[in-house]
């Protein structure tokens, strides 16, 4: 396979989407009864599970407690079977540490932490299948889980990735597109206000193009918001039926 064509002349991507189209998103909230909040999300073939405990008292060293707000503790892990090649990923490796850090930054910006001083909120995210855009899937799953736990937030946090191929910005990259090695940008957005919770990009991209890619990512994140909003409303409706209201 000599040089996979990421964007054909007719404007199709490898998997048949057009440049701005998202992969299919399916999500469910409240998948575990034991946890305070939980959610499962599928973005294309990327599947992630998020669980939220809290807010509760600080566990472990009390010294970590913050006097004015809650401590957000994020842990990321990925299953051995999540990638094509089966591989053990021990806790605390560089990648999951970094991911945990990113998630923490994202959610510290979104959760109203000042309402729960000296307490702790735990967010555990596990990736079951990785097919590109793991960060985005994790954020989206965690958002739903936090909502499920009933922790007050400023807004949804919706994340999406974007890339840049042939002068066109591609939204929601799949693994194939990521592996091709172009620039890749991850964006977590608070859609109502348009505020950016996190923006991350490793590769080099010309300044002139940044605007375009950012725009594509933001639009995709808003699309994600529409889907998540629908999921939440659906979930609330179902839950209220069960409660018998």
């Amino acid at each position: 396979m000599a040089g996979l064509e990421l964007l054909s002349d007719q404007g199709y991507r490898v998997d048949g989407r057009r440049a701005g189209e998202l992969r299919k998103i399916q999500a469910r909230m409240g998948v575990f009864a034991q946890a305070d909040g939980s959610a499962y999300i599928e973005q294309g073939n990327t599947k992630a599970l998020a669980v939220v405990y809290g807010p509760h008292e600080i566990r472990g060293s009390r010294a970590r407690a913050l006097p004015d707000r809650a401590l957000v503790n994020c842990q990321y892990s990925s299953a051995t079977f999540s990638t094509g090649e089966r591989k053990r990923r021990p806790h605390g490796d560089r990648k999951s540490c970094e991911m945990g850090l990113h998630l923490r930054q994202t959610f510290e910006a979104a959760i109203l932490t000042q309402l729960h001083p000296r307490s702790q909120i735990d967010i555990y995210v596990q990736v079951l299948q990785a097919d590109g855009g793991t960060y985005a899937a994790c954020v989206n799953a965690a958002t739903l889980a936090v909502l499920d736990a009933g922790i007050p937030m400023r807004d949804f946090v919706c994340a999406c990735s974007a890339g840049f191929v042939d002068n066109t910005a591609l939204a929601d990259l799949s693994h194939v597109e990521e592996a091709a090695g172009g620039p890749q940008l991850a964006l977590a957005l608070l859609p109502a206000s348009g505020q950016i919770a996190l923006l991350e990009m490793d590769a080099r991209l010309h300044e002139d193009h940044l605007e375009q890619v950012l725009e594509a990512a933001a639009r995709a994140a808003r699309d994600v918001h529409t889907v998540l909003d629908r999921v939440v409303r659906q979930h609330v409706r179902e839950a209220s039926i069960l409660l018998g209201d």
Binding site: D9, R23, K24, S174
Partner: protein, 995 residues
């Protein structure tokens, strides 16, 4: 909205592990169709290029066609092409970036009327690949499915033609959907030899075009419609409308007669077309003759460019620019075609080399070789260096390593060979013995050529190029150097030789095969028998012992013992062979009039005799053992390598070809049942006229002609039910027993060796050919075999002509002979002359329009009149009211003469001189086998040629004597030198000579 599907891919990583990759695949309800006929342009969002609306159909090339013929699809004349995404992706993956970019540019270019249809992203066009379905099949299926969708999408208003090379696809989809045609556009131009000027046929390659239902060949009428294509080219043909279709003519006519306006009503019209393109040229070297002096002058003064006439009638005249036309007049010359301008009637060519004088034996033989593309240069030094040495000073020995690895049969088995007398290349030997457990053991031991010919060595490459040993009427050209073919690989008597053996264990009484063993062996043949001697021994005639050198020098007692052993073995062998033959006969094996000629050589390696198989039973015995070995080897290699074994198939014939045979037989009151090989064999056996044995022979040879040729093929490229060998009635067959003279056998030997090492779980040493390579090789071998057959036939005809050339047809007794009519045409009959084995045409109406008439004394005369042709007879009625009728299988007297031709080979002409059988005064002569005469004929021609040579030598001797007499300088004088050069006429020396 979008639909999500998943594709599962299994990839192999560099470490050799399998990776399972799941990819998403999104489908959408509408993708741009780029057609002006689109019913919902809004949904399709057709922006950019649209297909033009004035085309008659859309063409969808299959992935293979896009891959291989992109250059053709690039023609701006081709309009309305829809490239399917599936096809484009294969180009991208398999042909690389360059080719793919070409395709992309083509699609972008607004001048080209072609579009891409993203069928794989279309909800209704996408087909998931099924489990176990090959990539190729899936691609073809996807493209076809998309074509059907597209057709319906355009509301069935535009017919769609899918062009593919895959015959299976044509079979499968050809008639599935109305309005979507699946065709293949390739065919090979086949020019009719006898009516070169007007008729040519194109045989379609697996075409089926359902609207016309045409399965037959397409007639190309006239030179203009042939559009500069030459015999053997692969061409694209356009069918003409039905009202322009023409029929083929059934009348006999001569090549050089120019009048084409024969008044015969043409037979029923057949599909007629014209060539619109040449896909692949098949230009080769052509043998031509320069026009004679008078003709040159008629071509005009400024004859720098000269039209030369090819030896092959089917090739048009070639224009050559030369100054030496006059000097080259009497020679056969090789030319090559360079180009053919679209404005020109003739192609341009250039001179390559001189073969020899017209009418000279060597020159004519060289002509035949060139025309059949047979190249027989002596083996090169590099090739000979690979050969083992076997000289009296340094004899070849069995090496100890080989002795360890091979089964040693030297002491345990009585091995012997039966071959024609004087045969040098003995490639098969036989053995039979009783085992300790009472069973019989039959062995066929074949020379182990592959031991000496490693794959891709120089000698292997050469042998592959030659593919077979060529037997001409008076000589042969070996495939392998004589050190192998006549010495080390020849299983001669009394010497140790390597062999590959097939050994069966048979039940003692029922001869059922219980066990089989294949492997390499060492043998020492005890006797090198010839057929006649073996038959004598079988018949209990012991006097023949004197002819067997191995027994001659023994004392009486041991000779007796040895002889008894041998006779027992021969008897047993015959018994077994009869049994196997009977078994095969029950399945419907055919016995046909074969053209298998064995060549007998004398001590000086000259061909002593061309001997057809004399009907001795021992011939059949040996043949049966070989067929058995071939059959078992075929089964073995097919089992071990189901996709890359070389087998030999003989497809069942088309029933329509048998109609002539049935008609002819009916004329004699026989019924030939051609439904299966069994019924055919039985009815041929029954069709025996006690008064005329020739009838049966003719019927058999007609049956042979109706059949297709047996071919080599690779098992990977054919369905299993097509493996069948019709003639031998075996399900699998191959050639294994003559590796000295056939390359296919060498391949089979290698396959067998690989199969044996596979059984032993050993690593296969040689790299086996892949299915594709093997297919290519089979095509080459088949091609060469055909060339060998043609050259043999042509050389025989050459000798026949040379034989009759010097005879005066009016007076010579030999030129008048008995003939049998075996086919009727509108203006003549085809006659077979059993005495010389000649087949030829005899006219009943001559060039002046006179017809034949036979008076009361049955002498024939030409008179004005008319001919009337019936199913199996032809009546010639003169204006005077006399009439004479010729029936099929009538015996007539014919006069044989030779029609000399300057540019082509001479042909035999037959003239009916009486409608009564010819009575030869000397009955003894009549008794002689015709074929013995054939060998006489070869001998006589060779002798006369030798005499001519001798005469020349004498002349040289005289000159030498002159030297001595007049004390001239030794060596050649300038005079003779120039004289010789003038003879050769390669240089235009006549001027310098005058000076």
């Amino acid at each position: 909205m979008l639909q999500k599907r998943e594709k599962v891919l299994l990839l192999r990583t560099f470490q050799g592990r399998t990776l399972r990759i799941v990819r998403e695949h999104y489908l959408r309800p509408s993708v741009p169709c780029h057609s002006p006929l689109c019913p919902q342009p809004a949904a399709c969002r057709n922006d950019g290029k649209l297909l033009s609306s004035d085309v008659t159909h859309y063409m969808i090339p299959d992935w293979k066609v896009v891959q291989d013929y992109l250059e053709i699809l690039e023609f701006p004349e081709l309009k309305g092409i829809i490239f399917m995404q599936t096809a484009c992706q294969t180009v991208q993956h398999q042909r690389g970036r360059r080719q793919y970019n070409k395709l992309r540019n083509l699609l972008k270019d607004a001048r080209h009327d072609c579009i891409l249809f993203a069928n794989e992203f279309q909800q209704y066009c996408y087909l998931p690949r099924e489990r176990g379905e090959s990539m190729e099949k899936w691609q073809t299926r996807s493209i076809y499915n998309a074509a059907v969708w597209y057709y319906h999408h355009c509301q069935d208003r535009m017919p769609i033609v899918m062009v593919t090379e895959d015959e299976e696809a044509i079979q499968q989809y050809g008639s599935e959907t109305e309005g979507v045609f699946v065709i293949s556009f390739k065919g090979i131009l086949n020019v009719n030899k006898h009516r070169a000027q007007i008729e040519a046929f194109v045989r379609l390659q697996g075409a089926s075009c359902k609207d016309s239902g045409l399965v037959s060949d397409i007639l190309i009428h006239g030179m203009k419609a042939r559009n500069r294509s030459i015999h053997g080219d692969v061409v694209v043909v356009e069918l003409l409308p039905k009202n322009e279709w023409k029929g083929r003519t059934a009348a006999l006519c001569e090549n050089d007669s120019d009048d084409k306006a024969s008044g015969d009503p043409p037979s029923e019209p057949m599909p007629t077309g014209r060539v619109v393109g040449i896909l692949q040229k098949n230009w080769r070297d052509y043998v031509v003759t320069f026009p004679s002096k008078e003709e040159v002058q008629s071509q005009g003064k400024n004859a720098q460019k000269i039209l030369v006439t090819p030896w092959d009638y089917r090739i048009p005249k070639i224009r050559i620019s030369t100054q030496q036309a006059e000097a080259l007049q009497d020679f056969r010359v090789v030319v090559r075609i360079d180009s053919w301008e679209s404005t020109s009637v003739y192609p341009n060519g250039h001179f390559v080399r001189v073969l020899g004088r017209i009418g000279d034996l060597e020159g004519e033989i060289a002509t035949i070789l060139v025309e059949n593309s047979i190249s027989v240069v002596p083996f090169s030094e590099a090739q000979m260096c690979e050969m083992p040495v076997n000289t009296p000073g340094n004899p070849w020995k069995v090496s100890p390593e080989e002795e360890r690895e091979r089964k040693d049969l030297r002491e345990t088995h009585l091995v012997f060979s039966i071959d024609p007398k004087g045969c040098e290349d003995v490639d098969d030997t036989l053995s039979v013995r009783t085992l300790a457990n009472g069973s019989l053991e039959l062995g066929v031991h074949i020379a182990d050529v592959t031991h000496f010919v490693p794959p891709s060595s120089y000698i292997d490459t050469e042998a592959r190029t030659r593919a077979t040993t060529y037997y001409l009427a008076d000589r042969r050209y070996d495939m392998l150097p004589s050190i192998l073919s006549a010495d080390l690989c020849s299983l001669l008597g009394g010497v140790d030789r390597y062999a590959v053996s097939v050994i069966w264990e048979l039940d003692r009484t029922s001869y059922e095969i219980k066990n089989v063993w294949f492997g390499r062996t060492i043998i020492r043949s005890a006797y090198k028998l010839f057929y006649e001697a073996a038959q004598e021994l079988l018949d209990g005639n012991v006097t023949v012992v004197e002819d067997i050198p191995e027994l001659k020098n023994l004392d009486t007692k041991s000779r007796q013992a040895k002889l008894e052993e041998l006779v027992w073995a021969l008897g047993k062998l015959t018994d077994i062979a009869r049994h196997i033959r009977a078994k095969r006969d029950r399945c419907g094996a055919l016995e046909l009039e074969g053209v298998e000629v064995r060549v007998q050589l004398d001590e000086k390696k000259n061909i002593h005799d061309l001997i057809p198989k004399q009907p001795l039973e021992v011939h059949e015995t040996v043949a049966e053992c070989m067929i058995l070995a071939n059959h078992w080897v075929a089964r073995k290699i097919w089992e071990s390598f189901p996709h890359q074994a070389l087998l030999r198939q003989h497809p069942p014939p088309h029933q329509e070809f048998f109609s002539e045979l049935r008609e002819c037989a009916k004329a004699k009151g026989f019924f030939i049942d051609t439904r299966s090989n069994k019924t055919l064999a039985d009815s041929l056996d029954n069709a025996n006229d006690p008064n005329d044995p020739i009838v049966n022979r003719l019927l058999r040879s007609m049956a042979t002609q109706a059949m297709s040729n047996a071919l080599y093929f690779s098992t990977g490229s054919c369905a299993e039910e097509e493996f069948h060998h019709y003639g031998l009635a075996l399900d699998k067959y191959t050639h294994f027993t003559s590796p000295i003279r056939r390359y296919s056998d060498i391949v089979v030997h290698r396959l067998l060796m690989a199969a044996i090492s596979k059984d032993k779980k050993m690593e296969i040493k040689d790299n086996l050919l892949s299915n594709k390579d093997l297919e290519e090789l089979c095509r080459h071998i088949n091609n060469r075999n055909r060339a060998a057959q043609h050259s043999q036939k042509q050389s025989t005809e050459l000798f026949q002509c040379m034989y009759f050339k010097d005879k005066d047809p009016e007076n010579e007794e030999r030129c008048i002979s008995d003939g049998v009519i075996y086919s009727i045409r509108t203006n003549g009959v085809l006659v077979f002359i059993p005495r010389f084995g000649i087949k030829g045409a005899a006219y009943l109406r001559n060039k002046d329009g006179l017809v034949i008439s036979c008076g009361s004394d049955s002498r024939s005369e030409w008179k004005p009149g008319s001919l009337q042709r019936f199913q199996n007879k032809i009546t010639s009625t003169t204006t005077g009211g006399e009439s004479v009728t010729f029936h099929l299988f009538d015996h007539v007297t014919v006069r044989i003469s030779v029609q000399a031709s300057r540019c082509h080979s001479d042909t035999i002409r037959l003239e009916i001189i009486s409608n009564k059988p010819y009575m030869i005064p000397d009955t003894e002569l009549f008794q002689q086998s015709s074929l013995l005469l054939k060998s006489d004929l070869v001998k006589e021609v060779t002798r006369s040629v030798e005499e001519a040579q001798l005469a020349q030598e004498v002349k040289v001797n005289i000159i030498q004597e002159d030297y001595q007499k007049y004390c001239q300088t030794k060596g050649r004088s300038l005079y003779t030198l120039l004289e010789e050069i003038r003879d050769l006429a390669l240089l235009d020396v006549s001027n310098s000579y005058v000076m």
